[in-house]
């Protein structure tokens, strides 16, 4: 194989993405170029002319690299989904841990046969533990890949807009689910501690208010 030709092809692929597809394409191009070169030589063409012929027959390879990099975001998306799944699992685990901590502390007084009530301490600890998964869930809702414009067309803009609004929707949903889980939990918790069942239902009214406020915030953001 003409080393000049090989060098030329290697140089062409310098800017190509370093993917398996790109390497395969290079190998394919090398094989075909070599055969073309050998054919030309055996037809009596001088090596210099044969080299020029082969190079000019390759054409514009940059359009090919576009195809090769197409596969990259797909791989990244897979990695991203895995990350999201792990974070979600950890979050749920932490919520459960919080509940376990609370009940452990609540029962601690009985186990130690003392009259000290540890349940308030348990509650505070649980709330502290719950901060982590809540932050994680908000974080993953925010890192969802934004649809990046591939072409400057109305269709692309529509896709981008759709992707944006979908993302916002998922953040909203996550916030609501955290809000209501917390509400129900706090309702039972406070009720069992205080036995003030006649008053504790008010917490649901507060939650509805909170939801309305969150909704308002999202609307304001959408309008921007």
């Amino acid at each position: 194989m003409n080393s000049k030709m090989r060098n030329h092809i290697e140089a062409l692929f310098e800017k190509a993405p370093k993917t398996r597809k790109a390497f395969e394409l290079k190998e394919e191009l090398l094989a075909n170029s070599e055969e073309r070169y050998q054919d030309l030589i055996s037809n009596g063409v001088t090596p210099e002319d044969a080299y020029k012929n082969v190079i000019s027959s390759i054409g514009n390879v940059s359009e090919l690299f576009q195809d090769l990099s197409d596969t990259e975001p797909a791989i990244n998306l897979g990695v991203h989904q895995k990350k999201v799944a792990i974070i979600k699992t950890i979050s749920i685990g932490l919520y459960i841990l919080g509940v376990v901590v609370f009940f452990s502390f609540a029962l601690l007084g009985d186990i130690l046969h003392t009259n000290i009530d540890f349940s308030l301490l348990g509650l505070i600890l649980m709330l502290f533990i719950d901060i982590i998964p809540t932050c994680l869930l908000v974080y993953i809702a925010n890192i969802s890949p934004k649809y990046s414009k591939a072409e400057d067309t109305i269709v692309e803009e529509f896709k981008e807009w759709k992707s944006d609004s979908m993302k916002l929707k998922s953040v909203k949903q996550a916030t609501y689910s955290v809000l209501w889980t917390l509400t129900v939990f706090l309702y039972f918790l406070i009720s069992f501690i205080t036995f003030a069942w006649y008053a504790t239902w008010m917490i649901f009214l507060i939650a509805i208010c909170a939801q309305a406020i969150i909704e308002l915030c999202f609307r304001m953001k959408e309008l921007k």
Partner: protein, 115 residues
């Protein structure tokens, strides 16, 4: 000449399929056969050919496999799928229609038909 190559380039994919219907082939061979069939009038750029291969593969009209050459670089062979054959047949019919419309609109052989 530029009209010719532009029009032909638009038909790269069915041209490849028509070659693969006869037998499995690889890039350079297909290009060589195109050159022979057109009496050296038309030849595809490698880049054009490969991007067409990639599109056809994505659409599952062809599949590729590596040859077992012991000397030199390995060749990448392409083979047409059942889906590819169907697409080719459909394309052929569409081209017949298109050709007859263009012929009529450009009055190629149309005058004698009308009289």
């Amino acid at each position: 000449m530029s009209l010719t190559s532009d029009v032909i380039r638009g038909h790269t994919e069915p041209i490849i399929l028509s070659h693969l219907i006869e037998k499995d082939s690889y890039g350079y061979q297909i290009n060589k056969e195109i050159l022979e069939k057109t009496d050296d009038m038309y030849e595809m750029k490698e880049a054009t050919l490969y991007s067409a291969f990639r599109r056809l593969e994505k659409a599952e009209l062809i599949i590729s496999y590596w040859g077992d050459e012991t000397v030199g670089a390995r060749r990448r062979y392409y083979s047409i799928t059942e889906k590819g054959r169907k697409a080719y047949e459909k394309y052929k019919k569409e081209w017949e229609t298109t050709k007859s419309i263009i012929d009529r609109l450009l009055n190629i052989g149309g005058k004698s038909n009308e009289q």
